[in-house]
């Protein structure tokens, strides 16, 4: 009798088990007990071979992440499998969506508009099975299969080539030379011998496919985004009266940031008006911010230059570009007296001032200068507005003298009776220095540079075209 009791489904219904022991009338286990807990998961894999045509790996990953975000509507667990696939858990969504076929239609409706927007083919391979590894293998091989039970996995996978497993080249060759073409051939061999002959990696992949070993799945998490808004009871005029509301929103933002240990680089505040498009204030920060006071100072500085087109009836604060907060940590000034740490301390000290200037004068107002190793004078220097500087290449130090001021574009020199003129007749001091480069772009630079002086004491960097109209230009001023 006790042996029968052990077979009873005890979960959820302990009373019934107790009752059965009392009445001594065991019956067949009813089929109406909830089954979802016992069913194996169903992993739905989507393979998009068209993504492999994108050469840039980063762009490919971004596209996959976007698709994963859309699939978040179908399942709570979506995993991005680089380079071309996505896997999601479908069992938990089956009842809501009304079966696997309806889920397939939903999936197609979600992904196809995105793919056609990117100009990619809209078809994709899909497979579902109780293990993520097997689903991936089937989808990537182009077998659009649905395998419900784990017992059927062996026969479903049997038709696939062994080359579809991810293996080093040496192992592939070894498998091929052993006459093993399909996984069906492998199933026939004893397991111990397989591990010895083809390595544990091979064996583990087979085990993962068949569900003997769990496959770790890393669920995709969409990037954090902060969005908070306030509605006013009555329309507010004047920037000063908005400040308490801004303080409230920033307080929320900082709580959000500190809970996630993030700092932000970009804020967008939109001021809503009653009958007008909202006023947008975008704030790019040089220095990632996590605390309210500096952010508020920047926003207030920006607001002080703003004239409101209409009374404000609500505001919304958004932030979506974040950095780990530890990156924003500043060294203790007293402790970083060493030689090597002087420079970062200095840049950290100047950052608040630059942020303040940017907040009032606009993001493009502050530039940093960079030098590039390029022979073409125009391309050897660049200015980057706003953010952190990329750093100069000290290797670009030239022996030849260069002017401290480079004109935004060369200015053609006038000539009078063979004499070059720029605020007076020019006298050549040194030269020529020949610069020939960029012939591969079609806009060839082919010039002879000279240093010249005019009667007013300006030393100029002038050049003579070696081809075409052979005009003279002034390109820079020395000091």
């Amino acid at each position: 009798m006790t042996g029968r009791l052990h077979q009873l489904p005890l979960f959820g219904r302990p009373q019934r088990a107790l009752r059965l022991t009392r009445t001594q009338t065991p019956q067949r286990t009813p089929d109406k007990t909830p089954r979802t807990g016992r069913l194996p998961p169903l992993w739905y894999a989507i393979a998009l071979p068209q993504l492999l045509g994108i050469p840039d790996a980063q762009a490919r990953e971004e596209k996959l992440a976007l698709l994963a975000q859309r699939l978040g509507q179908l399942s709570g667990t979506v995993s991005v499998e680089a380079p071309d696939s996505l896997v999601f858990e479908a069992r938990s969504s089956l009842r809501y969506f009304g079966g696997i076929h309806s889920l397939r239609v939903h999936c197609r409706q979600l992904l196809q508009p995105v793919l056609s927007e990117w100009g990619l083919p809209v078809d994709f391979h899909q497979a579902a099975s109780p293990t993520p590894a097997a689903s991936l293998l089937l989808a990537r091989a182009g077998c659009n299969l649905l395998v419900h039970r784990r017992e059927n996995l062996r026969s479903a996978l049997g038709r696939l080539s062994v080359q579809s497993l991810t293996l080093p080249q040496r192992r592939r060759l070894q498998l091929h030379n052993s006459g093993l073409r399909l996984l069906r051939d492998v199933w026939r061999l004893p397991v111990h011998a397989l591990g010895q002959r083809f390595g544990t990696q091979f064996l583990r992949q087979l085990d993962q496919c068949l569900g003997h070993v769990a496959t770790p799945v890393r669920a995709y998490e969409s990037p954090p985004r902060f969005d908070s808004s306030l509605e006013f009871d009555y329309a507010v005029e004047g920037c000063e009266r908005l400040l308490p509301a801004i303080e409230e929103l920033l307080e929320r933002l900082c709580a959000f940031l500190q809970a996630r240990d993030l700092s932000t680089l970009h804020l967008q505040l939109s001021l809503q008006h009653e009958a007008q498009a909202p006023t947008l204030i975008a704030l790019d920060m040089r220095h990632p911010g996590q605390f309210r006071a500096p952010l508020q100072l920047l926003l207030e500085t920006r607001l002080s230059t703003l004239t409101l087109p209409a009374p404000v009836c609500g505001m919304q604060l958004e932030a979506w570009r974040f950095k780990a907060a530890s990156a924003a940590a500043q060294p203790l000034n007293g402790l970083s007296a060493g030689e090597g740490t002087a420079a970062p301390t200095e840049s950290a000290r100047i950052a608040p001032l630059l942020g303040l200037l940017q907040a009032r004068l606009g993001d493009a107002a502050v530039h940093s200068l960079q030098s590039q190793a390029d022979h073409c004078p125009e391309l050897a220097a660049s200015t980057t507005p706003g953010h952190e500087q990329g750093g100069s290449t000290p290797a670009a130090v030239l022996q030849a003298r260069r002017p401290c001021w480079l004109l935004p574009a060369p200015v053609q020199l006038q000539q009078h009776a063979g004499q070059l003129l720029y605020r007076g007749p020019l006298q050549l001091l040194s030269g020529p220095e020949r610069i020939e480069t960029r012939w591969w772009t079609g806009q060839e630079v082919c010039r002879d540079y000279y240093v010249a002086m005019n009667p007013r004491g300006m030393r100029l960097w002038i050049f003579h075209e070696r081809e075409g109209e052979r005009r003279w230009f002034v390109h820079g001023i020395f000091d």
């Binding site: 230059t305 002087a342 420079a343 200095e346 840049s347 000290r349 100047i350 608040p352 001032l353 630059l354 303040l356 200037l357 009032r360 004068l361 493009a364 107002a365 502050v366 530039h367 940093s368 200068l369 960079q370 030098s371 050897a380 220097a381 660049s382 200015t383 500087q389 750093g391 100069s392 000290p394 670009a396 130090v397 030239l398 003298r401 260069r402 002017p403 401290c404 001021w405 480079l406 004109l407 935004p408 605020r423 001091l429 040194s430 240093v451 007013r456 004491g457 300006m458 030393r459 820079g476 001023i477 020395f478 000091d479």
Partner: protein, 213 residues
Amino acid sequence: MSIHKSDPRLLSLLHIPGLWRGNAHAATASAFADRGVSTGFPALDACLPWQGWPRGALVEIITPLWGIGELQLVLPLLRGLSQQGAHSLWFAPPCSPYAPALLASGIDPAHLYVVSAPAAQLLWGIEKALQDAACALVLAWPGRVSHRQIRRLQLAASAGNTLGILFHHGALRQSTAALRLRVEATRQGLHVEVLKARGSYRQSTVALAREAP
């Protein structure tokens, strides 16, 4: 000392301790607690009461035209600051500074920021930068500035202990800046005239050689 040593009456005056000698700037220089930063030109240093650029003060450099070599005067200063890793801000320069040339002169462009702003906002930015102790040097090309504006900038520079150098074409007859230099180009080099140096009545002119291009 250019005192007439022959006149006994003058000599007796020199023995009076309370007499302030305006001409003897060398004596007053020692009264400045900290000497300035060397300009890199010994001849110019000798004319200035701080033996160089003053600290926490405003300097005006007046030129008839941009690009006649006025930048030569500040290149040694920039080089020194770059070695210390200190930052300088350039406000509204007449054209963009060329990074390879600065690198060749020993100035790291990474320590240098260019700020462009509409004329109405420019002086606000200069004042904020001068007040900030993190900024070691402010170079500015503000165009026309009034007497009051220069005074305000001078106060900001002393508050932030920042050296501010204004480049302009100079219409004001006098100003509250600590140092005013007029720079003109000659065939051989630069001709620098000290129009005003606080703490000295001496108006001297120096001829500086320019670096050969």
